[in-house]
């Protein structure tokens, strides 16, 4: 169930090269215990690719893939910040690093722990 009304949120890496916006009603946030999310302490919101828009920084983005090489883990090549990634199980969705969103307060949004480490 949505915890807020749908709204546009802007996000960026640290240096500002990568700018994006998403539209979401924040049904939930997720954490993940897989080998890469653990290192980034990722707290994410999932949005369909149609609700995501890259505003700038396509030339700054780097992509890292591993294991099944389905997920595309993006980060800024200048400041290193993980901004968003294409998800492995649902590659038409992005996982967004909510710490990159402007004026975002996670209070009241349910957090679901996903078990990435158990995926084959």
């Amino acid at each position: 169930m949505a915890s807020r009304s749908p709204q546009t949120y802007r996000g960026s890496c640290h240096c500002g090269a990568v700018q994006f916006e998403i539209v979401t009603d924040f049904p939930e946030l997720t954490t993940c215990d897989c080998s890469i999310c653990r290192r980034k302490n990722a707290l994410m919101v999932k949005v369909h690719e149609t609700a995501f828009r890259l505003l700038s920084g396509s030339e700054a983005l780097r992509t890292y893939r591993f294991h099944t090489r389905t997920a595309k883990h993006h980060f800024c090549g200048t400041c290193g910040i993980y901004t968003f990634h294409r998800k492995r199980v649902t590659p038409d969705y992005y996982g967004i690093n909510v710490f990159c969103l402007e004026d975002f307060d996670p209070a009241g949004i349910p957090v679901r722990a996903t078990v990435g480490a158990g995926m084959p």
Binding site: C13, H14, C15, S35, I36, R38, R39, K40, N41, A42, L43, R62, Y64, F66, H73, F75, G77, T78, C79, G80, I81, Y82, N97, F99, C100
Partner: protein, 137 residues
């Protein structure tokens, strides 16, 4: 539960980035006290600081894969793996004479306890009136 002691015997922890290019070892107690900072870059990188003197840190591999990022006072040297993006250690503004290791990047098996202490890095001048953190031992 007993918290970490500054006199606790120290062991060798190993760790690194995700892709494995950057590898290091760090000497520290098995029970670690680490810092969770709320500043603009630590929040975005999800970083947990284990700050040690230079003598207790050794980069084993991957120097050529590291990218450096600096901002504001340009004291800190933020380092991340240019292949996988993971920031596994860096030179912090609070302790430019030491290293901060990302406790989230330590290999499993040697950390017995992780005590997380919040740090108000967002208000740097108030948190560090002397301009830096306490000297390291």
């Amino acid at each position: 539960m007993k918290g970490p002691s500054t006199n606790a015997p120290e062991i060798t922890h190993t760790g690194g980035c995700h892709c494995g290019r950057v590898r290091f070892e760090v000497t520290a107690p098995a029970r670690l006290q680490v810092t969770d900072c709320n500043c603009s870059i630590c929040a975005k990188s999800g970083y947990l600081h284990l700050i040690v003197p230079k003598s207790k840190f050794q980069l084993l591999s991957g120097a050529e894969w590291l990218t450096t990022y600096q901002f504001n006072t340009r004291t800190a040297r933020h380092l991340f793996c240019s292949l996988c993006g993971v920031k596994s250690f860096y030179v912090p503004r609070s302790h430019p004479d030491g290293y901060s290791v990302n406790a989230r990047c330590l290999d499993e098996g040697t950390v017995e306890e992780l005590v997380i202490v919040p740090s108000d890095g967002k208000n740097w001048e108030r948190t560090y009136p002397s301009g830096r953190g306490r000297p390291l031992t």
